[in-house]
């Protein structure tokens, strides 16, 4: 198990209750966390700071989550993503699948136990490290 407590995570969600609590939660587990309330703000952060991954809500004001993921991947091909959505019927689009997202990268709100998310994050970051090592 790789220590990923120094992973850098960007949380993109327009709901402040979710955004801040999620950021706090991750901080408590020693992630370096930043939060953006929309895609535009997130993109700006991405150019200035470096992140390992982004947790993205799909329904965002302005640019939506999916477009943001594609745009961010263009800028930073190394960046990993988790989709965190309240929609029940959401399925990954072909474009997202092409850039490497899988159904297990989609997490549905509400999570009664946030450790599920934690596992997902760790899983994603671990894979990233593995691919980097390769």
């Amino acid at each position: 198990m790789i220590d990923c407590s120094h992973g850098r995570v960007l949380v993109v969600d327009d709901d402040p209750g979710i955004r801040t609590s999620l950021a706090s939660f991750l901080e408590d587990y020693d992630f370096k966390t930043m939060a953006a309330q929309n895609a535009e703000e997130a993109l700006e952060l991405l150019t200035n700071e470096s992140f390992d991954m982004a947790i993205v809500d799909l329904r965002l004001p302005g640019m939506n989550g999916e477009a943001f993921v594609l745009r961010a991947h263009e800028l930073l091909p190394e960046l990993r993503f988790l989709i965190y959505t309240g929609s029940v019927s959401y399925c990954l689009s072909d474009e997202l699948v092409q850039i490497g997202l899988r159904p297990e990268h989609v997490v549905r709100k509400p999570l009664t136990d946030l450790s599920v998310l934690l596992e997902c994050i760790e899983d994603v970051l671990q894979r990233k490290d593995q691919s980097n090592e390769r």
């Binding site: 209750g17 939660f25 408590d28 309240g86 029940v88 509400p110 009664t112 946030l114």
Partner: protein, 1182 residues
Amino acid sequence: MYVRLLTKRREVKVPVANSLDSKFFCLCIFAMFLCVLVGCGRDEDPLTPEERAWLDAHDRKIVLAGESGWPPISFLDENGRFAGINADYCRLIEQRLGFRFKIEKVGSFQKILDKAQAGQVDVIMGLMPTPKRSQFLSFTEAYFEISSVILTRRDRAGPLTCDDLAGERVAVAEGFVYVDYFKDNYPELKLIPVATTVEGISRLSAGEFDAMVAELPTSSYIIEKEGLTNLRVAGFAGQKVHLAIGCRKDSPHLQSILSKGLALISDRERVAIHRKWIGLRQEVQRPTILSVLLPFAACLFAVVLIVVAWRSKRKRRLRRAAAEGEVPIGKLRAVVIKRKNLRVSLAVACILVLASLVLIVTIRRPPEDLLTPRERAWLREHEGQLVVAPDPHAPPIDFFDEEGNWKGIGAEMFMLVEKKLDIRFKVRRLDSWSQVMEKIRTGEVSAVSAVTKTPLRSEFMVFTEPYAITPAVIVTRKEYKGKLKLEDMRAMRIAVTKDYSLHEYVRTRYDYLDLVPVTDELTGLRMTSFGQVDAMLVYMADASYLVRKDGITNLRIAGETEYFSKLSIGIRNDRPILRDILSKGLAQITQKERDDIYRKWVHLGRIPFYQKRSFWLAASGVSAVVFAIVLITLAHSIGLRRMVAQRTTELSKELHERELAEEALGEANRKLLTLMGNLPGIAYRSANDRDWTFSFVSEGCAELTGYPPEDLIGSRRVSYHNVIHPDDRQPVWDQVQAAVKEKRPFILEYRIRTSSGEEKWVWEKGQGVFSPEGELLALEGFIVDTTERRKAEEELRNLRNYLRNIIDSMPSVLIGVDAEGRVTQWNRLAQRETGIDATSALGRKLEEVFPRLAVEMEKIHKAMAERQTQQDLKRPHQKEGVTHFEDVTVYPLVANGIEGAVIRLDDATERVRIEEIMVQSEKMLSIGGLAAGMAHEINNPLAGILQNVQVIRNRITGDMPKNTRTAEECGTTMEALRSYLERREVLSMIDSVANSGQRAAQIVSNVLSFSRKAEMKPTPNDIGELLDKTVELALSDYDLRKKYDFRKIEIVRQYDAGIPKVPCEASKIQQVFLNVLKNGAEAMAGNEDQKEEPRFTFRTRRQGDMVRVEIQDNGPGMSETVRKRVFEPFFTTKGVTAGTGLGLSVSYFIITKDHGGTMSVESEPGFGSTFVVCLPLKGAEQ
């Protein structure tokens, strides 16, 4: 030359003697004739171009309603045509204006008014203008004025007024003006409206009312026509009726067109119409009886004379013979005795004749006082104040002779009226007519004896009916040749008597004429004679009288005017009662009295001999005498001849009579043969043998059988036996033999084969002819072709069967009922529904044979009354304990005037069920969609709550270095903080928030399943097994056990054998069953009135390509509203804590959405609930 005299509205033409040249008279007549011809030929349109265009466009489209029960004003003649005074006016107007009405015959006047108000009728003739009617009609001038009278039966004596009728039943024709008049003026009358005057008078005669108010002419006409001798006219009703033409107010030109048409009808034509229809015939009858009786008496007398003459002659002869010794004395004596008998019978005859004459004279009823007590009282009150002023200078109508006595027609008429009524007027002699008019205006004079009604005079006078009519003529000197008309007299000075109606008429009509008013007619005529004026307008009667009296010889009649003076008695208009009195007096003057007066003044004894009644009496007497003489002569010569002829006659008589008899017999035979030959069938006489050998057969057999009579008589070429159809031969023989044996007639129907092989049906009636000894001589009878009738019957029967089949094949219950609700039609489904067959249902009351339709009787009557289909949809009714629904439709029968209805009953149970399911699934779908949308929205805030709670928990209970560090920075330790929070139970509160959040998340996730089509992995499952497993689950379920002990519930299983396995997701279906069981158990546990032990009944069976599962409980059941909402999400009858109310809706979606099945519930309060789940089998094959 004549004056026309109105004698009680009946007119006679009486020639007038005149001193003017008779050649001129002929010329005048000719000229008048030419005038009329030219007048007729003149084609000047009285209408304006717009009116003409409108009229042409509406030819035959203007609807005129004519009443059918108001003779002689408006009724239908024997050919059903519109007749009477109105019809004649109507025809004249049509002729004058060149168009035709569209005549519509309407029964009663009220109906006409109703139609006019509804705009269905354009024109009504013969109605009185009233303000009420003016709201929708406009009126022409009145063309006819009639009095209204009170009619009663003869058994009621004395004159009557409206005041006498208080509280009595008085009939009036509905819609007539009287109705309102009496309501306003005599509210105490009990008015009974009748449809028509004819009906009213007939019913009055039958004793239904006490009196009737109708018009005088109508009453007398109907009484006479219908022979209602028990009725009489008892008095005037006080209401004069003016008949005008009413037309639709919204029609632009109609009123002015009809007014113009009416104006084009001349006085002469009007008089002719009135004369044609109105007359009191009774008056003529009395002289007729006399004139019949007198000739009869004369004849009787003549016969007596003849007999006497003949007898005396015979006596003479006998006496001579006796003297010569040819006849014995005894015979002579017998003759004398006979003569005595003759004398006696003669005396009796004379007495009889005398007695009948006396009887006729006494039958004349003694005069009764015509006046009502009120009128009589009025007269007494005004005795000595009544003054009559005649025209002083208008002979022969009114004038004063040298001694100052009032003379003339008017004078005598008036005096006669005085005599009849036993009243006395003072006669006042005034100087001129103008003065007469002046005095009556001021009231010094009460009445004028002879005056013509004019509009101007009507302002201050009222008038009786006219009693004489005379035309106004133009008189000039003889040197004026040619014919004159008023419009041609512009350049002439024309004298006219001042203030005469003629004056008023000419002045207003021909204002361009140069009129010279003169004081009296004689003055005017003299002025004309002397050349002071060119012409004089004067009444013909006056002119002829004056010219002759005054010996003026240089005048002639140059032309006629269109004006007729109608002479009435005029009365001051403030005394209408006097008018009624004088009218009655005038009405009492008989024809003969009038004739006498006119003859005296106008006629001067020159009545043509054939117009005198005495002439006819004399003539009939003379002819009777002549006839008697001829008879005497004949009798004499016959007496002589008879003696000679007697012997010869006796000899040849016998021979002759025999010849006659034979001839008559031959003639009768021939007639009989011809008659029989013409019969369409066979008349026959035959022997009673197997061949039915005919001895006689009529010509008709050729047409019926194709064989001429010669072939059949004696069975020469063919026997009738062979003509009969082979199958019918024996039955015919048997029936005839049976009848003959009993000596009764026989009637047969059988088939024959004609010579061409055609089959025909015949009907035969015959009987045996027997000798006095009872021996059968022959058969006689008649055979007629009934093939056509048979065929028609057959077709009718087929048609009836066909229709019956159609009705029977209908998938609805069809029942026909009549107006009383009796069954007239009963189809097969009705039979099946009720178990009563058509034959026993027909004619019975609907509610007896179909009790559940009893509540529909109201609808049935409504349908019949309003002629509109009535519906009662989805009517529930119980059948074998199950609620069924049916649609009831009631169709009224409107054809052929049959009152009745057809009731259609359709079973709507299935439809109602499907509708309910559809509504349910529709509703659930929309709710599902809504819930899903909402769930998504709720997920975000829920996530916020849950995440924050976890973060809070982490930061309190987690042993993260950050927690310890921050606590230290705050001067405390995590342990202290935790112990505080634990002691204050904050942590459990946080857990509780987390719990609530999780429950909410669960609900949302459940709701989301409504819209989400789950990925199903159906496997074949035995439904029974699934049910049993669910019960086990329920028994072990902790939650369930907590609330009710499931083991106490009895389970009855009714599983059909051989039900195939159903493709479904077992866990989901179990979830559904569990939900249903929970629901049922809860219901049974919560039911305090539970009488039976709680019980579930499981049933499974196959239903088409579905498997049907029923889970029935014996709980309290549900009300209709609950039943309809039970599947709705969040709908619950339980307390808040008991559940989310989602169980059944989740179940519903599992069955309907995930498995494509149906889920419903049947329940009624008190009878438990049954949940029905149907799952398709088809999924297995797919």
